[in-house]
Amino acid sequence: MELAQSTPNRMSPLRSLSWRKTRETIFWYFVLILIALFTVFPFVWVFFTSFKGPADAIVSVPPQLIPKDPTFDNYIRVWNQLPIPAFFMNSVIVSLSTVVLNLLFCSLAAYPLGKMKFKGRDLIFYLLLATFVIPPQLTSIPSYVLAVNVFKYYDSILALIFPNLATVFNIFLLRQAFKTVPNDLIEAGKMDGASDLRVWWSILLPVIRPSLATAAIFTFVNQWNDFFWPSLMLHTRTHMTLQVGLVAMQGMMTSDARGMAAGVTMTIIPIIIFFVLLQRHFVRGLGGAVKG
């Protein structure tokens, strides 16, 4: 800014400075675009492949990206062979109901852990902390036995919801959020004769809304993309989530690259839209997760 007000005879160093700045900016955009190509290229290629007609080669020398004969046939074929709407519905039901119930359970548990003094609090806290290192695949064997013999929800989406009703990660994230709420706020509510449940619902939850949003988004994406456990539980086509259905499709259409590309595109687009809409919360959540 100071340079800009300097006298005319000092223009030439200024011009070279601004030229250097421009050159630097161009360089950084070049680097950024190069990395962007690297990270989205497979999706771009899959997207274009999904519209390729029989006349368009999947691969040729030299490779052809844009279809000359664009068609929706691949989507129609996948749609006719697999219950895509059922996959979508199942994924949406599983992810949404897990988010709602998980946040309810975890925010209930996080309140006393963050704001109350009681016997066994530290014990419970460290017990929960220790479960962080448990590989989820380890618990899958007994969880499978429970699903088949005790809860009888094998091959049903209930099997995907129940084990995720509470997660240690979300309890910690929300506990951290409750800790930052001033005690005066709680005292004031108690003074007005509010019960703990009322304080939690009407005073605390509205205050920690940003953390709830973060927890909700991460839980949603995790559930949406989960594969290991769902693939163990779901076998009937119409009961499958998108990820399990996508793998079933891969098994069915091994030689149909166009069809597979259409299937992949259909599953990725909703989650990308979801991400673009809620992008800000992702970034905040990651920063917060590390600090917490």
């Binding site: 006393p112 990308i272 590390v290």
Partner: protein
């Protein structure tokens, strides 16, 4: 901290979440430990066999191969740390549209390993894009069977893990970089540091807390890798078990070969490895914070 009187309230708040975690995390640890001493095929009750499963593992060549593969897989951690530090430094500048670039780099993270894995499979297919590109550039004369080549299975899976992790760990490092005071960079510049030295002397030490987090998270994820292997090898583990990791072997034993007792013994070994890793990491973390 609101009052000290013994009341049931905190326990009632905690009960639902604790019940879920007790059922789906704590009970399974005990159950897996018990199963690991039994012959168990999930459909009929377990039969006690003492240490037989562990003894069998000691002489199981595939298990040793799986261990070797899982430890090899840990190489993704240092690679991710280096690449993501550089990436975070690149995107940590004020340029118009920088947020859009960050979001684009994050897309592989949210797209889910199944969709990403299938996309990669399509590209690496014998008739896929990569061979098309290499052929037209004249780098190779005949198509390479990327996915059928045993020595390529693990490197390709690791590449996939790295590619999907770039955006995630970049965001964590970015949050760390934004906490480093600007004055430190100015001081480094006054001391005559060039831009690269500036980052080496300021950014790298400043990111120490993030290195611990990323180190822990990415190495645990590497030890637990499954989806990438499953998709790239079509659920078979690769030719000559070239892609079999500890978790993949656990899954195959439990859910393909109905040897849940043996799988539980593998799970216990995995748990021990994870515990050792976590203790080492926590020690490093403590040392890191002392140094601050």
């Amino acid at each position: 901290m609101t009052r000290k009187k013994l009341s049931l309230t905190p326990y009632l708040f905690l009960a639902p979440a604790l019940l879920v975690i007790a059922t789906f995390v704590l009970y399974p640890i005990g159950a897996v430990f018990y199963y690991s001493f039994t012959k168990y095929n999930i459909s009929t009750p377990p039969v006690w066999v003492g240490l037989d499963n562990y003894k069998a593992l000691l002489t199981d060549k595939i298990f040793w191969l799986a261990l070797q593969h899982s430890f090899t897989y840990l190489l993704v951690t240092p690679i991710l740390i280096v690449l993501c530090t550089i990436l975070a430094i690149v995107v940590n500048r004020k340029l118009p549209g920088i947020n859009a670039f960050r979001a684009v780099y994050y897309i592989p993270v949210i797209s889910g390993s199944i969709a990403v894995g299938i996309s990669w499979r399509l590209m690496l297919d014998t008739n896929g894009l990569l061979n098309g590109l290499l052929l037209s550039l004249g780098v190779i004369q005949s198509p390479i069977q990327w996915l059928a080549e045993p020595s390529m299975t693990l490197p390709i899976a690791m590449l996939l893990t790295i590619w999907m992790g770039l955006g995630y760990y970049m965001m964590i490092f970015l949050a760390g970089l934004q906490n480093i005071p600007e004055e430190l960079y100015d001081a480094a510049a006054i001391d005559g540091c060039n831009p690269i030295q500036k980052h080496w002397h300021v950014s790298v030490p400043g990111l120490r807390p993030q290195y611990v987090v990323v180190g822990v998270v990415s190495s645990l994820a590497a030890l637990q890798v499954f989806n990438e292997i499953y998709i790239l090898t079509g659920g078979l583990g690769g030719i000559l078990n070239s892609g079999v990791t500890v978790v993949f072997y656990l899954w195959r034993k439990a859910f393909r070969l109905q040897e849940a007792g043996m799988a539980s013994a593998i799970a216990i070994v995995l748990l021990l490895i994870t515990l050792i890793f976590s203790i080492v990491n926590i020690r490093l973390m403590e040392r890191g914070t002392e140094a601050d």
